[in-house]
């Protein structure tokens, strides 16, 4: 059986001592830590180096726009949060780390999270997907680019304001088709 919440908390207490974080309640019994935007990298690096978390299971984001719960006050009304989930096979436990992001618009300063690609190379695609879907940057991720959507795509589909039906879903195709039909133009 996997380690209980109390046992995980006890195991991580000496590692997390001195790092800026607080624990949050979770409904599924996974230890959930909340860290500030400038301190989350230290928490993740500490967990990687000293707590034996070999696997990075998830890097994703949640858009809290229009949620019925008020946005948190202490972060200045942040809209997005980034979620990391780490998994230790040797000690058989998992931990979730969350952090609120300051900005809201892609490319804006502060609208980025630290990369964990150097700690877990396997997190690279997760971060690319997160950038692709929300526009969140990852500091230190070299060559961060879209994963699922075409490179020329202009929108961030998992943001709440993006409609489910898409915005001009065939726009890129039409542009390509127009170029192709021009007598002097395309090669395809």
């Amino acid at each position: 059986m996997s380690r209980s919440l109390e046992a995980t908390r006890e195991r991580l207490a000496p590692i997390l001592a001195g790092l800026d974080h607080k624990e949050e309640e979770s409904r599924d019994g996974m230890l959930t830590l909340r860290a500030p935007q400038d301190g989350v990298r230290a928490v993740l690096a500490g967990l990687h180096a000293k707590a034996g978390y070999e696997l990075c299971t998830i890097v994703t984001a949640v858009d809290h726009d229009e949620a019925p719960t008020p946005r948190p006050q202490d972060t200045g009304g942040a809209r997005f949060e980034v979620v990391w989930q780490l998994h230790s096979i040797t000690s058989n436990d998992r931990v979730r780390v969350k952090c609120w992001l300051a900005g809201e618009e892609p490319g804006e300063a502060g609208f980025s999270a630290p990369t964990v690609m150097d700690l877990w190379p396997g997190a690279a695609y997760f971060e690319r997907e997160c950038f692709d879907m929300f526009g969140i940057g990852f500091d230190g991720h070299e060559g961060l680019k879209r994963l699922m959507m075409p490179d020329a795509y202009e929108y961030y589909p998992l943001r709440k304001e993006f409609p489910h039906g898409g915005i001009e879903p065939d726009r890129l195709y039409k542009a390509w088709d127009k170029q192709r039909r021009q007598p002097s133009g395309g090669t395809a």
Binding site: R27, D28, T57, V62, V83, Q85, A123, L147
Partner: protein, 414 residues
């Protein structure tokens, strides 16, 4: 341990150095493999920079099958998304259903009746068998052993008959519900199901005679696309790919769900982490899954007539007959169909799928619309690791690497 090192050195020595006297040496040619190529197992595209026959750089390009499943979940609501989980890894729809249902149950703190858990185990293991049959058969076909493909496809078709007998569909079943399963299994079908494994186990032995000791198969797979234990962990491998590299880890053992702690089975582990080890792990998992299925069928016999769906009217639809005769049940039905709410909070459920850890991270804000539903797709990671597995090796070995990494684009792109 020493053997592993030897193989890495052998590969590096055989492929590594450029010949300075060869005028063409070092000239890279860009080669596109896919997105519609039979050996890429779906719409995967690989951008290969080839130096002669050696792949110097490999870059996977994904997204050709992206349908926006996560956005769809936010739009449709929790219940209606069940249909879409079938279309993730379409080789094992029932296992995806189970993973999603268990994530919802974890968030809602909903208990599942014992019989439903046993039925789920039976369906999950049969799904794993069907998916592994494809993985083994197709990877063998890619390397020229085409009769293996016919043998495994034949067996898979028989397994589909069982699933068809239970759900009425071969694929895209959507037979798992929050709180249990949609319908009970008939006793006749249970017996038919038990009879299936007799022939199946005999067939596995036959395939092993055909393939495992086959000189060509061995040469094409041994030492190809190898990764060490540390590499596999760093690149986020789970499931057979991680076990092939010698890590004895299985979520069914470490964090048992759906009553897996009561079943007797073993975890197959490889040693060298190459394509051949991953094949051996999958073959052994077929046997172990059959073993679990047999135990589940014995338990189904003991629990005949038991409940197969929880009776929590916040999440579980009332029986159809009651809806037509009782006003209260009609209201429950209406509320669940139009406005089913999960408590505020978040939950993560990771299940052992045939490709690795299939995880559902769901977050709810207490309304009928999901706040977030993220799927941790093992196929995405199995593709991400392809450059590590293939760079510096021969172009023709790419096929072995792709086949042994085992992914499905429907799950990768979502």
């Amino acid at each position: 341990m020493t053997l592993q090192k030897d193989i890495f050195e052998y590969r590096a020595g055989a492929m590594g150095e450029l010949d300075p006297d060869d005028p063409l040496s070092g000239q890279l040619v860009e080669l596109n493999v896919g997105p519609s190529h039979p050996a890429t197992h779906g719409v995967l595209r690989l951008k290969v920079m080839a130096d002669g026959e050696i792949m110097r750089e490999v870059e996977p390009v994904v997204g050709y099958l992206h349908r926006g499943k996560e956005k769809t979940c936010e739009s449709l609501g929790w219940r209606k998304f069940f249909v879409h989980t079938d279309r993730l890894d379409y080789l094992q729809p029932l296992l995806n259903n189970c993973g999603y249902a268990m994530a919802l149950e974890k968030l809602a703190h909903l208990e599942v009746p014992e019989r439903a858990q046993i039925i789920r185990v039976l369906l999950m293991e049969t799904s794993r068998i069907m998916s592994h049959l494809i993985a083994i058969g197709v990877s063998a076909m890619d390397l020229g052993a085409i009769s293996m493909f016919f043998f495994t496809f034949d067996q898979r078709e028989k397994a589909y008959d069982l699933i068809d007998g239970y759900t009425g569909h071969r694929m895209n079943n959507t037979y798992i519900r929050m709180g249990g399963v949609y319908a009970d299994i008939e006793p006749e079908l249970e017996e038919q199901w038990a009879g299936y494994f007799e022939q199946f186990l005999a067939d596995i032995d036959q395939w092993e005679e055909l393939l495992t000791g086959n000189r060509i198969w061995y040469e094409r797979n041994r030492g190809i696309a190898a990764m060490t234990r540390e590499q596999a962990l760093a690149w986020g491998m789970t499931g057979p790919n991680l076990r092939g590299s010698g890590v004895e880890y299985d979520i069914r053992k470490a964090e048992p769900y759906s009553g897996y702690e009561d079943y007797d089975f073993e975890v197959a582990v490889g040693t060298l982490g190459d394509a051949y080890d991953r094949y051996l792990v999958r073959i052994e998992e077929l046997r172990q899954s059959a073993r679990i299925c047999k135990q589940a069928l014995a338990r189904l016999k003991d629990t005949r007539g038991g409940e197969f769906l929880a009776e929590d009217r916040r999440y579980v639809l009332p029986p159809h007959g009651d809806v037509q005769s009782s006003m209260e049940e009609l209201i429950h039905q209406f509320k669940i169909v139009t406005d089913m709410r999960l408590p505020r909070g978040e939950a993560y459920m990771g299940v052992e799928s045939s490709k690795g850890e299939l995880g559902f991270y769901i977050a709810s804000d207490g309304t009928a619309k999901p706040l977030r539903c993220h799927m941790r797709a093992p196929s995405l990671l199995n593709i991400q690791v392809l450059p590590l597995l293939t760079e510096g090796q021969l172009l023709s070995d790419m096929v072995a690497a792709i086949g042994s990494a085992d992914f499905v684009m429907g799950e990768c792109d979502r």
